[in-house]
Point group: C2
Chain length 295, copies 2
């Protein structure tokens, strides 16, 4: 199976799951349920669920749609909390982004209170979904991983530092902290859930978790670089936004050349971490897709 | 043991648990961790945890501090999500309340983004705490109850309707819906957690859940009445706020006399639901404390 086809079929399984889960637009309170659907079903790349599925099937040793449907709750929960974080990050008092993937962001399409409540409802729904595993142990393990990734010491803490940093000069360590927490934590949770559901050894979990962290950091650095030298088509949004918002970026703090070298090293290390694992094609493709974006 | 003493000891156990759980103010990111402590440790009445403990010990058939320390995760989770809901409700785009229990509300003391993230972090922390039961089944059962109570069909849905209703005339059914969801849902979750941890029959759970709902509705109606005829001392805040904010209230929609009768009936029914249960003293006191506020 071609890798793009593999991704597509997994994405379809996820989106069917999301579709079935979300309340219909017609359900009271309508605004809230419409906003939940609008934000979740908005053509996202579904990177976290696909990373989860890819890791799970690599560890399983074969591609098996039936088996991944059994672990669908984890994939759904990852996408729901990711969406919730985007909704809250986009708010006027946070990053003040009026667009998300070429469409009006939630608080623009609806209003600010609805956007806040939609984020809250999606976080709660994510946890509810995670209780749906057949085994309580699987549920509890995934809930623990998700809570750690989201917490004030995880993604939410990263966003808190990002907000504070918007108004002052920060150094590369703080920028790295923001990327580790804001982007890295949930990617790590994605592979950690796959590992715990497959009950693999702790050292494999640590390796794959580091792999996911490297992916996240490399992705963010490449995004920073493209914001400086990329085009709308590659970036998926207007470049130059960070500079305009006076946002600290890797190129700003390290220079373009050193930023590129840092990203390349992260990707090379990521490759080394998984190169000897069997059935690693789908995970290798994650590295390739980031490498290809490097200008 | 006097009932007030009983409440006090349970409150102390809860607050010790919260104190031990929350990250220190000095932990990075400091603003977020300070805001979490500031909002959670702010002298609340802890009604939901105390209702949970009271129900649990009634069903247990005796008062036993060791036993309630084992179910502390449920009490803590209830208080954390309640606090999170107050923080988000107080936001300028929601109810725009700058005070909470005589102190600056979270977004005033800190700022709006920190308040949003503090609410998010407390919701996540609540779920994390619920994974701490010795038995996975207890954890999963409580997480299911919490998710249902918070969801877009529960407390968050109630807040969504409340926000929409602020700008238009609503009828008594909508007001009742708001009270059921915004206040009732989490009180019901409090007794439902106690029931499931004691594995009682479903009909007892239903009765106690209805009892909690009646308490919540009666409390809200009495609050509405006091807003019209009460004093600062009884209400704990400046009366007349609802009228000033053009908020729909029971007295406004039903008149003072009929509102009072509705509250009295809810409390009488609540009394009938539990009057034949053994060891019901602490629960009866919940009814008394609301009855005493009735002017």
């Amino acid at each position: 199976m071609l890798i793009q086809e593999y991704y597509k079929t997994r994405k379809d399984i996820l989106e069917k799951g999301l579709e079935d889960l979300l309340a219909p637009n017609s359900e009271y309170p309508k605004n809230l349920h419409k906003a939940m659907r609008y934000t979740v079903m908005n053509g996202g790349k579904r990177i976290r669920p696909i990373l989860f599925f890819s890791t799970y099937e690599m560890l399983l040793g074969r591609k098996n749609k039936k088996r991944i449907e059994r672990v669908l709750p984890a994939a759904i929960a990852l996408e729901l909390v990711h969406t919730a974080s985007l909704i809250h990050d986009d708010l006027p008092s946070m990053d003040n982004s009026s667009e998300r993937r070429g469409k009006a962001s939630c608080h623009v399409k609806f209003d600010v209170p609805t956007a806040i409540l939609t984020g809250d409802a999606l976080i709660t729904l994510a946890y509810e979904v995670l209780t749906n595993f057949k085994s309580s142990t699987d549920s509890i393990n995934c809930i623990k991983i998700l809570s750690k990734a989201l917490s004030s010491r995880g993604m939410i803490g990263g966003q808190a530092v990002d907000i504070i940093s918007a108004t002052k000069k920060i150094n590369i360590n703080t920028l790295r902290y923001i990327h580790i927490k804001k982007t890295g934590a949930l990617l790590q949770a994605s592979v950690e859930m796959a590992c715990i559901l497959q009950e693999v050894d702790e050292n494999i979990t640590i390796t794959l978790s580091n792999f996911a962290l490297n992916l996240g950091l490399a992705y963010q650095i490449v995004d920073d670089i493209l914001d400086e030298v990329g085009s709308y088509d590659i970036l998926g949004k207007e470049p130059g936004g960070d500079l305009k918002n006076e946002k600290a970026t890797y190129p700003l703090l390290l220079g373009l050349e050193k930023s590129k070298k840092t990203a390349e090293k992260l990707l090379r290390d990521a490759h080394n971490m998984i190169k000897n694992m069997n059935n690693n094609e789908a995970l290798l493709e994650f590295i390739n897709s980031i490498t290809e974006r490097l200008p």
